[in-house]
């Protein structure tokens, strides 16, 4: 039976998602898995931008932070329900991406990288400095999510919720890939001039995927804030942006499944190495270097190239 990459991805994900709660020994492990689903959601979105369209973003954690702080600040300062606040976070994130995206995406190569980096850091600076509003570097409490009288709590509950969001996000991403827009993004990645001449509005396509990626990150940020019930500006800092980029890269640029694998590795490894907590940074740095030198195409495409060639439907 020939399995398209799309179906394979969904199947593998569904299987892992369903099986894990029975394989994992404790609620601590469930919490780690939940973190993986959440980070993976952000990574899948970033993969659409970086892997599919070839646009680098070194400031993506900024959008993550907007989503996270939306659910922290909405109830506190605006009296909004957390769910509504999350929606506001998505909108703000998308609007910011829309406004800064147009000028920023005209840049290429290291100029684009640095512009996105600057953007991410500016967001972090605001979150870190407006102490009266955000609680500053010490962080801020996040109210519990209550859906129609049901208090959302418990490791298992959050596992299913974040997993469901990831599945939905993956489904949307896979749909996007197999569509005129998906093909247009892959085309402009390879040759912008040929894409333009074929009738593709390259600026609009880039902006669209940038906004989509920002919304994915904001959704993930909101999930994290509601899950942890507490956030600090660290969720929006440069290191987190680099971690997200690393997830996409080591998993395999352009591969949705790869983004999830990358997220899993980068979330689980520090947890597994809690003994070596001090080595966390060194390990991350080493991993980035080694992957970028030796396995640039990433794990999933690397493994896929070992399998006998199968046609993509």
């Amino acid at each position: 039976m020939r399995l398209s990459a799309r179906h394979a991805t969904l199947l593998v994900l569904l299987a892992a998602f369903a099986a894990l709660p029975f394989l994992l020994p404790s609620s601590f492990h469930l919490r780690v898995a939940t973190l993986v689903w959440i980070q993976a959601l952000a990574a899948v979105g970033l993969n659409l931008l970086m892997g599919l369209a070839g646009q680098v973003s070194l400031g993506h954690a900024g959008f993550f932070g907007i989503g996270a702080y939306a659910v922290a600040l909405g109830p506190r300062h605006l009296g909004l329900d957390p769910l509504l606040s999350a929606l506001v976070g998505l909108v703000v994130s998308g609007l910011l991406a829309l406004v800064v995206g147009r000028p920023i995406l005209r840049l290429r190569g290291h100029y684009l990288a640095v512009a996105t980096l600057g953007l991410g850091i500016l967001v972090w600076l605001v979150l870190n400095s407006e102490v009266a509003l955000t609680g500053g570097p010490d962080g801020i409490q996040v109210p519990r999510l209550v859906l129609f009288g049901w208090r959302v709590a418990g490791a298992e509950t959050w596992y299913w919720i974040s997993g469901a969001f990831l599945l939905f996000g993956v489904w949307l991403a896979l749909n996007l890939e197999d569509s005129p827009l998906g093909r247009a993004l892959r085309a402009l990645h390879d040759s912008e001039v040929a894409a333009r001449v074929a009738g593709i509005d390259v600026a609009r396509a880039k902006l669209l995927v940038f906004v989509i990626a920002a919304i994915y990150a904001a959704a993930a940020g909101s999930l994290l804030a509601l899950f942890n019930r507490f956030i600090t500006p660290q969720v929006a800092d440069f290191l987190h942006s680099i971690e997200l980029v690393t997830m996409v890269v080591i998993g395999g640029m352009g591969s949705t499944l790869g983004a999830i694998v990358g997220a899993a590795i980068l979330t689980v490894l520090p947890q597994a190495l809690t003994v070596f907590h001090d080595y966390e940074h060194a390990m991350l740095g080493l991993m980035i270097i080694l992957f970028m030198i030796f396995l640039r195409q990433g794990i999933v495409p690397g493994l896929a190239s070992l399998l006998p060639r199968r046609a993509v439907a």
Binding site: L176, S179, R183, A184, A195, A198, G199, V312
Partner: protein, 263 residues
């Protein structure tokens, strides 16, 4: 005689201090094969880049079916029926041959975001239709058996034909071909030859930049000769072949180059 589908009027452009094109005009009609020839550096590709919206001329106009399109960007020109290929092959190397041509169908696809994200039946139907049409075009250029191959694996001659297939996918009324036979052997050149003639017969206005004189003389309806960015001669193949200035420009150029090489 029908109205021209594509026209350039008094087009000129300078790069730094160099006047790359000066007062160049031409017109091509439906079914015509209009060739632009001239020595290297004559400004042929520059003219193409202006007509296809990649450069902005500092004077003159470009008209598509009578409409002034001079300042329009490439994707809007494509929407008005202009397609082109590239001298240096702008292939989507990471996509398959089939996918390359599918991208060419972009203008004829429904592109709303929500049906795309939710994979509505309309999107599925369209993917299938696009794929079918792309296969037909690959067959037209003789590449149907390489549909699923990554474009990076195809030989040079095949890539030239792939670009033509991709350009045709947009169903253009005007097709610009930038050195389609460059680097091709005699067999490949003949195939391209036949393709161009068939495309023109179907009603497209084909504008060609080429160095292969045999090809040009064989299939062109009209020829424009450029030299140093200026129009040197224009007419039917027979007229241009007999033009003393054209002969002088080419022979003169050869003589000057030989003398220079000898030191």
């Amino acid at each position: 005689m029908s109205a021209p589908l594509i026209e350039a009027r008094g087009v000129g452009i300078s790069f730094g201090g160099v006047r790359a094109l000066d007062d160049v005009s031409f017109a091509a009609r439906s079914g015509e094969v209009f060739s632009i020839i001239g020595p290297n550096g004559a400004g042929k590709t520059t003219l193409f880049n202006i007509v296809s919206g990649l450069y902005r001329p500092d004077c003159g106009k470009v008209l598509l079916a009578g409409e002034d399109v001079t300042a329009l960007p490439p994707h809007l020109l494509a929407a008005r029926g202009l397609s082109r290929t590239f001298q240096n092959l702008q292939i989507f190397f990471r996509m398959t041959a089939l996918e390359n041509v599918m991208v060419g169908r972009h203008l004829h696809e429904e592109r709303s975001l929500l049906p795309t994200l939710f994979r509505l039946p309309s999107v599925l139907r369209q993917n299938r239709a696009t794929r079918e049409r792309a296969r037909e075009l690959l067959a037209f250029v003789g590449l149907e058996r390489r549909a699923e191959d990554p474009a990076g694996a195809l030989p040079y001659g095949a890539l030239k034909r792939l670009e033509i297939a991709r350009a045709l996918a947009a169903e253009p009324s005007v097709l610009l071909l930038d050195e389609p036979a460059a680097g091709c052997n005699a067999v490949e050149t003949e195939e391209i030859d036949r393709l161009i003639v068939t495309i023109a017969e179907r009603g497209t206005a084909v504008v060609l930049v080429e160095h292969d004189m045999k090809l040009v003389m064989r299939i062109s309806t009209r020829i424009l000769v450029l030299n140093h960015g200026r129009m040197l001669a224009e007419g039917s193949p027979a007229e241009v072949r007999a033009n003393a200035e054209v002969i002088a420009a080419y022979l003169g150029r050869h003589a000057a180059e030989a003398a220079h090489a000898a030191g």
